[in-house]
Amino acid sequence: MLNPQLALYDEELTEIREVADRLHQDSRARTILIVDKNGQLIAASGVDAELDTTSLSSLVAGNVAATGGIAKLIEEEEFTGQYHEGKEISVHMTIVARRIILVVLFDKNTTQGLVRLRVKKANEALTTIFDTLAAKPKGAQEDVFKEITDEDIDNLFGP
């Protein structure tokens, strides 16, 4: 299979959250999202209650996928960074380890230069974490799913 299943464990998630929190603080950004290329949110920092992170993650992934399609058409390997400038809030997106999107939402509290600088550092840290995760052998936890019965699945849908 070209797209191996992404499994995330406590240890890595804690490390990923630490990177997100550090970036949030160092870049003085409003929000940090770490999203996988299929649109699933992995971790976030600085999210306020109104922010719909599920929708945002899906749209970010769609955006990155579309840009990736453009790259392919013009025979460019990948556009690793994207920037959308808004009146109040701007968005900076970076592809990490080819499969993760690091999203930074920021306002006038900081500058694009500082965000880019801090993102570079966070990118390196995240690359190490995700490379380790990709190389990690499947643990005993996967066995949980082998025990799923037809009844479990039926119960999910109710009567």
Partner: protein, 195 residues
């Protein structure tokens, strides 16, 4: 590609509704959205043209409840059905866990059905997937219309491999949840096998 978060105890899966233009993919999602309890669904997003034709995709996140202590989340996507949006369709198939092919039962759309199904198979192959091996269901939509082709004929043309199939009328919701349940079930069964 399902995403399992052992830390947050969550399973996330991606389901894609595929089919020719105007077959009712978006209508399927709209019906599911309208009949799902608010606490089980997120916002439905439609990236559509001014005339409400899907331009990129529709997206609907659903939470189905827990299985063995894991929250199960399904992300439902539609593709744009119109022929010239092929590049966008390919993108949406990336990382898919299960596909529902929505066929338009009307006689005049049979050619479009066949073309779209061939396109699905081809685009999946490009991503390294085999339609015969992934979770897959077929829905024959618009069964209520006068020019609907008999079921046997649809089956002979579009379902030669005998995958689970459902008759539907997405506008009224008939068959919509049966289709979704069958697909979600196949995806979870696949997960049990070890994805």
């Amino acid at each position: 590609m399902s995403f399992i978060n052992y830390s947050a105890r969550e399973i996330n899966c991606k389901l894609v509704y595929y089919g020719p233009g105007l077959c009712g993919k978006t209508t399927n999602l709209q019906f599911i959205y309208s009949k799902t309890r608010p606490e089980s669904k997120g916002k439905m997003i439609s990236l559509a043209t001014e005339t409400e034709r899907t331009l990129f995709f529709d997206f609907l996140p659903l939470s189905l409840g827990e299985i063995r202590g894991f929250k199960t989340r399904f992300h439902l996507y539609t593709v744009p059905g119109q022929v010239f949006y092929d590049a966008s369709r390919k993108l949406i198939l990336k990382g898919v866990d299960g596909v529902c092919f929505v066929a338009d039962s009307q006689l005049e759309r049979m050619e479009a059905n066949i073309e779209s199904l061939d396109n699905l198979r081809f685009n999946l192959e490009e991503q390294g997937y085999d339609l015969d091996k992934i979770p897959y269901v077929i829905q024959y939509n618009k069964r209520d219309l006068p020019s609907a082709v008999p079921l046997e004929e649809l089956r002979a043309t579009l379902n030669t491999n005998n995958v689970p199939e459902f008759e539907a009328c997405a506008v009224t919701g008939e068959g919509v949840f049966d289709t979704l349940k069958a697909l979600a079930k196949q995806v979870l069964t696949e997960l049990r096998k070890g994805g």
